[in-house]
């Protein structure tokens, strides 16, 4: 992957990725998340994905993409710690597979740039009719979060954990604000994004000429924008606190438990390799303590896994447990962490985890999605962009003590339990 600065706050990352059958053009907009525009920025992807000035009708756009052999236009928003990230991407098969010799890649670029920079406006604002329809869709999506209990539990735990901090801005939007949002507010939020966001143009699977054409077209679009990029939000960590235990009850068959831990201070980029190994050892793999002991040996849950978010220096442990076993599962999860901090870590288990991680990193560049995710997260994380090979070298050098040092700094902040009525009495 080659990365170059092509304008202030704008980078091009490209990889010809010749082995793939498809190519992918994506435009990432990253900017600090703000409470006051969170709902507008949550609605924006839905409206942008419906159509753009040259193809305003949703059904016609779907047909246009189908004609390009099912090319995929996606506009999505993903929270990355304190940053909001909106990505417009088009993925489709390479020109050589077109049955009638159509110039597919050129079309993909036109659609991606059209969706990002030329939305369908009516009297200078997003089409009010489309905005009203998509507001209803956003409302449904927000109301539906309860249907998937695992995600609901994680979100509720995160809300407690992050509170009013910038990482606590609900980037999925605020249900109570959706109805009052206007086309004008949405348009202003969009213009603000174009003006202030850091932009990463990622072109994968295209040749040099195609890549240059996309780059030039993007720069031409940006020339019409009064750009003033703001620095990306810095990585944070929530301060340590006395653990908060919360319970919600529903008529459900399996209880869900989400435990959030803080590192107490932002993760340093050079600690990443040790963090990866620590997570694999504690709960991020099938050779981890949580999998082998809490799930396989004690049968306390069906799933129990740990993951780390480097942007916020936080670790989440998620599990699905028997209602009556929730308190025991929580204790077992904490005990496994304590054992790793103070007890023995065998060379065998450490090397098993390291081997699994090294193997996984070797396969990162075997998919378009793998390449894009790896490099874009590296960019957002700040510091030097590591290739998978460099990350593998760093991982090989991690010692047992470095792993322990990471785990010892993690302290429980929030434990959130979804369970059925009557079963949390013993909690």
């Amino acid at each position: 992957m080659e990365r170059t600065l092509i304008a202030p706050g704008v980078h091009l990352s490209c990889d010809p990725a010749e082995k793939f059958n498809r190519c992918r053009i994506s435009i990432h907009f990253a900017f600090p998340a703000k409470r006051e525009t969170a709902t507008a920025h949550a609605l924006l992807p839905l409206v942008l994905e419906r159509g753009y000035a040259d193809c305003p009708d949703m059904t016609q756009l779907t047909k246009k993409l189908a004609k390009l052999y099912g090319a995929d236009l996606t506009v999505d928003a993903r929270p990355m710690g304190c940053s909001h990230n909106l990505c417009v991407s088009v993925t489709g098969i390479k020109d050589k597979f077109a049955l009638e010799g159509e110039p597919l890649t050129r079309e993909y670029a036109a659609i991606a740039l059209g969706a990002a920079f030329h939305p369908y406006l009516v009297e200078g604002v997003f089409d009010p009719q489309a905005v009203e329809i998509e507001k209803q869709m956003l409302k449904k999506a927000l109301e539906d979060e309860i249907n998937e209990k695992r995600i609901y539990c994680m979100r509720q735990a995160n809300r407690e954990f992050f509170g009013d901090s910038p990482a606590g801005v609900r980037q999925e939007g605020y249900l109570e604000e959706v109805e009052g949002l206007t086309s004008r507010q949405l348009t202003e939020a969009y213009r603000e994004m174009l003006r202030t966001a850091n932009i990463e143009l990622m072109v994968l699977g295209c040749d040099a000429q195609q890549t240059a054409a996309v780059r030039d077209a993007l720069l031409a679009e940006l020339a019409a924008v009064d750009r003033a990029p703001v620095p990306l939000a810095k990585n944070i960590a929530m301060p340590r606190q006395q653990p908060l235990y919360k319970t919600e009850t529903y008529d459900m068959v399996q209880a869900k438990l989400c435990m959030l831990f803080t590192l107490g201070e932002p993760m340093k980029p050079q600690e990443l390799a040790a963090v990866r190994l620590a997570m694999a050892l504690y709960g991020g793999s099938v050779t981890s303590r949580l999998f082998l002991n809490v799930r396989e040996r004690d049968h306390l849950c069906y799933y129990c896994s740990a993951s780390f978010q480097s942007f916020t220096g936080s670790m989440a442990v998620n599990s699905g447990v028997e209602h009556a076993d929730a308190a025991r599962a929580r204790q077992a999860i904490l005990k496994e962490l304590e054992d790793l901090c103070t007890g023995e870590i065998t060379d065998e288990e450490l090397e098993d985890c390291r081997r699994g991680l090294l193997s996984g990193m070797s396969g990162v560049e075997d998919s378009l999605g793998g390449i894009e995710s790896w490099y874009y997260i590296e960019v957002l994380r700040g510091g030097r962009v590591q290739t998978p090979d460099q990350a593998r070298d760093a991982l090989r050098a991690v010692t047992k003590e470095e792993v322990r040092s990471i785990l010892r700094r993690l302290s429980l902040s929030v434990s959130y339990l979804l369970t059925k009525e009557d079963d949390h009495v013993g909690e």
């Binding site: 949703m58 998937e148 008529d251």
Partner: protein
């Protein structure tokens, strides 16, 4: 199809097939430039294979045996297969569906060693009363997890309405009660019946060659001839009537979820053409390009989760439309009106062609990464087809074929409806909870 395109496609597909003397079908797709290799060892044994005759003896299994067996395959006298994979660095998994069980891994190093773990664990089953009892707890938890999924409850509820006796009525994982009845003998019988090489497919894609995969097969005796298995699946008669026309249950969901299912004549084994045709018809009626979808979407009657799907296994074929809506009956009514209109007027020619275009793109896409590539090869091989045959078959489907099929499918006489209604506990907005 243009001739040069055919060459490009042949190069893209580039898989090699071999049927070994043991009966095992091996398919390999070397993918130059890739670091990893994905391998799938699949058997035609799924949750619907409950009753069969094995060597003149009838075997009747409780629900959930295929899935239970999948879990137990990871354990033998030497220990856990995951621990063995940990020594190779491979990322391993397995899954069971209605008609197949698949064991798989992705490896970027020590491929031979990982192949040995995979072939060793699947060809050397080991079960005892104790190891079975241990697994019942974990699988019981898994069953409960799915019990909380409205999407899964909707699908299983529709099957219970559409079918009287077909084993698709039962959950893939079974129930806590049914898995309590599993014995080592049942698992060994299942292995003898369905884990014979002649009933299995080994598919590999990525940084490997046919020679490397065959060498692994040789190490595990899969190059040696095996006696033909004497297994016959037994099916209870399934009439074309419905077991029930409607079913309702309540769950903690924010909005009503609904499903409309149509029972169809079973398709012949290996008839992927019929399945592909039904799939295209679904896309024409409710897909993103259809006028019905647009109307439902614009009127706020459905969200993007609304759609149709075709499910076909031995002795069962149905078309299901599922989604969530404040007005499920209104959606159902509009759906039925649209089916009637398309049946009378024929499918929209432009949409039909565009749907075919999408499917073609999907087939090409699935050849791109090692996981999808091996999965696609194994899926088609289990039905006796190749990827190249699929591409040719797709090209041959016409709108007239769809019009003809519409005269016999999606009949309201064979339609059932399933509702999941909110139980009233889901919050409309954030609830404040007391601290403990």
């Amino acid at each position: 199809m243009l001739e040069n395109k055919q060459t490009v496609l042949e190069q893209a597909v580039a898989d090699r097939w071999k049927v070994l003397p043991s009966g095992l079908t091996v398919i390999v797709r070397p993918m130059p430039g890739y670091s990893g290799t994905h391998v799938i060892f699949a058997t035609r044994f799924g949750s619907i294979d409950r009753d069969f005759r094995l060597e003149d003896r009838e075997v009747h299994l409780p629900a959930g045996v295929a899935h239970f067996l999948e879990h137990k395959m990871f354990e033998d006298q030497d220990g856990d297969a995951f621990a063995k994979y940990a020594k190779t660095g491979a990322n391993a998994n397995a899954f069971t569906s209605f008609d197949r069980t698949c064991y798989l891994f992705t490896a970027t190093q020590q491929l031979d060693e990982s192949l040995d773990v995979l072939l060793g664990m699947v060809t050397h089953p080991y079960f005892t009363e104790q190891t079975i009892a241990k697994e019942q707890g974990i699988i019981g938890q898994e069953i409960k997890m799915y019990d909380d999924s409205p999407e899964w409850r909707l699908i299983t509820g529709l099957f219970e309405c559409l079918y009287h006796s077909h084993p698709i009525r039962s959950d893939i994982a079974g129930t806590v009660e049914s898995i309590a009845r599993i014995t080592p003998e049942m698992l060994y019988d299942s292995c003898r019946a369905f884990y014979a090489p002649g009933n299995m497919v080994l598919a590999a894609a990525g940084n490997t060659t046919m020679e490397q995969i065959l060498a692994a097969c040789a190490r595990h005796g899969l190059m040696d001839p095996r006696p033909e298995g004497r297994v016959q699946r037994l099916w209870a008669p399934e009439p074309m009537t419905l077991a029930a026309t409607e079913k309702t249950l309540t769950m903690p969901v924010s909005k009503p979820c609904f499903g409309v299912g149509f029972k169809e004549e079973p398709l012949a084994s290996g008839d992927l053409r019929g399945e592909a045709l039904y799939d295209l018809i679904c896309s024409c009626i409710v897909g993103g390009m259809s006028p019905l979808y647009r109307r439902l979407y614009d009127e706020g009657l459905v969200n993007p989760s609304f759609g149709g799907e075709v499910l076909r296994v031995d002795g069962c074929c149905c078309i299901l439309f599922t989604g969530e809506s404040d007005e499920p009956d209104r959606v159902k009514q509009l759906l039925l009106e649209e089916i009637a209109r398309v049946r009378t007027q024929g499918v929209d020619r432009e949409i039909f062609t565009l749907c075919k275009n999408e499917k073609y793109g999907q087939l090409i896409e699935n050849l791109e990464n090692v996981e999808d590539s091996a999965s696609q090869m194994a899926d088609f091989a289990l039905s006796g087809q190749t990827v190249a045959q699929q591409i040719t078959m797709l090209a041959g489907l016409t709108a007239e074929d769809a019009d003809a099929a519409l005269q016999r499918i999606l009949s309201t006489d064979r339609m059932a409806t399933m509702y999941i209604l909110p139980d009233g506990t889901a919050p409309a907005a954030e609830d404040e909870e007391e601290e403990e």
